[in-house]
Amino acid sequence: MSALAQTLMPEAQACADDYEATRKVGLQRLMQHGFPDQKTEAWKYTPLRVLEQRETQTEPRTMGEPAALPAWPVAGTLLHFDHGILQCDPGELAEGLTLMPADPKALEQRDFDALYGGREGAFSWLNLARFDHAWHLQVSGEHTVIMATTTTDAFSADVHPRIRIEVLPGARLTLLQDQTDAGQGLVNMNCEIDVAEGAQVEHVLCCKNHESVWVQRTDVDIHKAAEYRVVAFDRGGRLTRHDLTMRLREGTAHGEIDGLVVMDGHQHVDWHTEIVHCTGHTNSREAFRMLAGGTSVGVFNGRIHIFPDADDSHSDLNTANLLLSDQARVNIKPELEIYSEEVTASHGATIGQLDDRSLFYMRSRGLSEAESLALLKYGFAAEPLMQIQTPAIRDWALEQLKEAL
């Protein structure tokens, strides 16, 4: 593991700017805790061998033209991270959107220990130690923001983009996050979303990864009468890990997570979601589905955590998983950690295969076996995507699903 620390944390990395103190904290914690191994509970199903075998470059980072961008179904303000660097002129944003460097003092005062913990949070500490820029986007009014993350074939670096999105009281944000990679590097992204009182966020996270290692952490705070809904559509990658934590901070906060992972080949995808009811009168739900083909490995850890005295909290998590090949594996762990009495919390989990009866029913109506299987898979996979509220994005995602199956 020390080799990994060596590669990713060279002594001679230093950007002399206002964030030095924050980076020092990140570095110190990373050195103290180290990188996770398979004895680290939160990483037991996700070995880092692929990353250990790679030599990523930290400096200098040579870049040519940014990667080409696809067409999106909605118009919006584009924040494009290419090789971890934001390709955007803060002055050119639409009115109501303010992009600025994060306040260094605010970062220094944050209690990151409570957020990232120990060894399990190594990549978050790494991000804190190594980020180039820490961005802060403020949103007021009603906006659609497209946040694209790309790399090119020549990519062999490790990059640590960092952004905090603050959705101000009463604002409405549609956030389409579309990310893909080329090359063989490490993208270690950290995203914070703060949904202020009465604000509403629809977050669609689409990722299609290839050979790069992708580690991403998203921390969402939801305040009074605010709503946050995320639909994640993950089409796999060589090694990807997502940590999505949703904290219901104040009464009447509402949060929903829908997830779909479609894996094939020798992909390894690990999703850890956590819903934290910090206080009472809060509602949440989560539905997460994985389809594992080829020799892929899917990991899903979904935790519901209800604090003491968070009475009248309600949460339900459901995960359904399909193993589509003899070589695929799925490891799932839904968790409940409940410290309050007047709550309802439940989860259900299934692992199985496509239903024989449905298959027969479809074939008896004239569809071939292949057509029936494709339609059944599509039906299973489409449900989480149907939760996307913006019709154009929903249809776009469903089109992509057809392509993926």
Partner: protein
């Protein structure tokens, strides 16, 4: 509602009726653990050389291990050098029959509701009574012998059936398995040995009653049950300990081997001293129990009712090695005051068409924390596996916690696995409904909790289902008016 909670809470401040101490002289070896102690225990039991070697190997391995810290438990450091690893009531020789057993011991088991003498024995249940580190007597020996069933203390089995013990000991739970299993393998004192021959249905329930009495001792029993092809046996254990301010350690190992078409049913009613309402004292119950469905079409069923112990760390598990083999786990775990429980099961599917079922009911009250932790694993070659898991938690009061940590791992595309978990409290509407039909609050709570646990109680042998229900009711009783 808070008034209701208070009432339920006060009802949970049960008096621990098994908390008395028996005043009997004890033969204890010095506290501490080293190779000499291991050799002393082995010598006390007049064990063969191979068994001493086996113990020493386990001890040396234990030295390289660390106590597990992954459970949702707050375990104070245990000073393993302060424990007496062997204590037995002083008797001149091992009694040849129950008539020779010290009357004080007989009286102890009488008080615990487990009479051993012939006139008062439980009908149809053979009992082996273990007091601290040794077995004081086993009932119905003759009747069992006639059926060909061996049911005796482990120390006796080592002498009389050394080949059987050697063949199976440590084959389900190897000494390397975990910290407490290694410790047990080094210092195990007594426990029960059961052997059911081919095509034999054991003519009666077998039961072991464990009693910790001596101060500063640990109890490290080891139980081994072997069911030959086509045989069937039902076994029950019960446990109690005196009320003491210090914590005492109980680290048992239970191994079950079911060969082709054999069936083993293992039931536990665990009522070790849980400590007082301030969390002082109580037993640390760190137990490794595992059943191996070694033969095709074999079946192992665990049922546990866990109401005692300050800390419970226990995962009775099944390995479905044989094709079409089946594993079951039924559990009720009640925690209150400062009790902590992290308990559940592991269902490891290796055989084709194997099935497993898990029903877990957790009840948390007071300042306790109660966790279900379970693993369902389907190996690559295990085709057509079925598992169903249901975990329900009931919270009583605002200061307790109920947690569920299921691990589900499938490497076979033909497996069907279903898991469901819920957390709730006793509904006001349920209470109101019961009361409007004439039940008082206490009766209503008892009724609802009993209903909540029904699926598990019905798995217990009849005599013990009554006992288990009574045990829960005691926990829910005591503050009338």
């Amino acid at each position: 509602m808070s008034e209701t909670v208070e009432k339920i809470e006060s009802r949970l401040q049960q008096r621990y009726t098994a908390g008395f101490t028996t005043d009997i002289e004890s033969d204890m070896i010095r506290p501490g653990l080293d190779e000499e102690i291991v050799a002393m225990i082995s010598a006390k039991k007049n064990e063969p050389e191979w068994l001493l070697e086996w113990r020493l190997k386990a001890y040396r391995h234990w030295l390289t291990m660390k106590a597990p810290n992954w459970a949702h438990l707050d375990v104070p450091a245990v000073d393993f050098q302060a424990i007496h690893y062997y204590a037995s009531p002083k008797q001149k020789n091992r009694p040849k029959s129950l008539d020779e057993v010290d009357p004080k011991l007989l009286e102890t088991f009488d008080k615990l509701g487990v009479p051993l003498h012939e006139r008062a024995r439980l009908a149809g249940v053979a009992v082996d009574a273990v007091f601290d580190s040794v077995s004081v007597g086993t009932t119905f020996q003759k009747e069992l012998e006639e059926a060909g069933v061996i049911f005796c203390p482990m120390s006796e089995a080592v002498q009389k059936h050394p080949d059987l013990v050697r063949q199976y000991l440590g084959t389900v739970v190897p000494h390397t398995d975990n910290f407490f299993a290694a410790l047990n393998s080094a210092v195990f004192s007594d426990g029960s040995f059961v052997y059911v021959p081919k095509d034999t249905v054991c003519p009666m329930e077998l039961s072991t009653y464990f009693r910790i009495n001596a101060r500063d001792t640990g109890q490290f029993e080891r139980t081994l049950i072997v069911a030959e092809p086509g045989s069937k046996v039902s076994y029950l254990e019960g446990c109690t300990a005196p009320m003491r301010d210090e914590n005492q350690l109980h680290a048992a190992v239970v191994e079950l081997v079911a060969l082709e078409q054999a069936q083993i049913k293992y039931s536990t009613v665990q009522n070790w001293y849980p400590g007082d309402e301030n969390g002082k004292g109580g037993i640390y119950n760190f137990v490794t129990k595992r059943g191996d469905c070694r033969g095709d079409d074999s079946r192992i069923s665990w049922t546990q009712v866990e109401t005692g112990s300050a800390i419970t760390w226990k995962y009775p598990s099944c390995i479905m090695r044989g094709d079409r083999s089946a594993g079951e786990f039924y559990s009720v775990a009640l925690t209150h005051n400062h009790q902590q429980a992290d308990t559940g099961t592991k269902m490891i599917h290796l055989g084709k068409d194997s099935t497993s079922k898990i029903i877990s009911k957790g009840i948390s009250a007071g300042k306790s924390n109660n966790s279900y932790r379970g693993l369902v694993r389907v190996a690559k070659k295990a085709d057509n596996v079925r598992n169903y898991t249901q975990c329900d938690s009931l919270l009583i009061g605002k200061t307790c916690g109920a947690h569920t940590f299921p691990y589900i791992e499938s490497a076979n595309a033909g497996a069907k696995i279903e898991h469901e978990a819920t957390t709730s409290r006793i509904g006001e509407d349920q209470l109101f409904y019961c009361r409007s039909r004439g039940l008082d609050e206490e009766e209503a709570v008892a009724l609802i909790v009993d209903g909540f646990c029904k699926e598990v109680f019905k798995e217990l042998p009849m005599e013990f289902a009554v006992e288990a229900k009574a045990l829960l009711e005691i926990s829910l009783e005591g503050s009338v008016g």
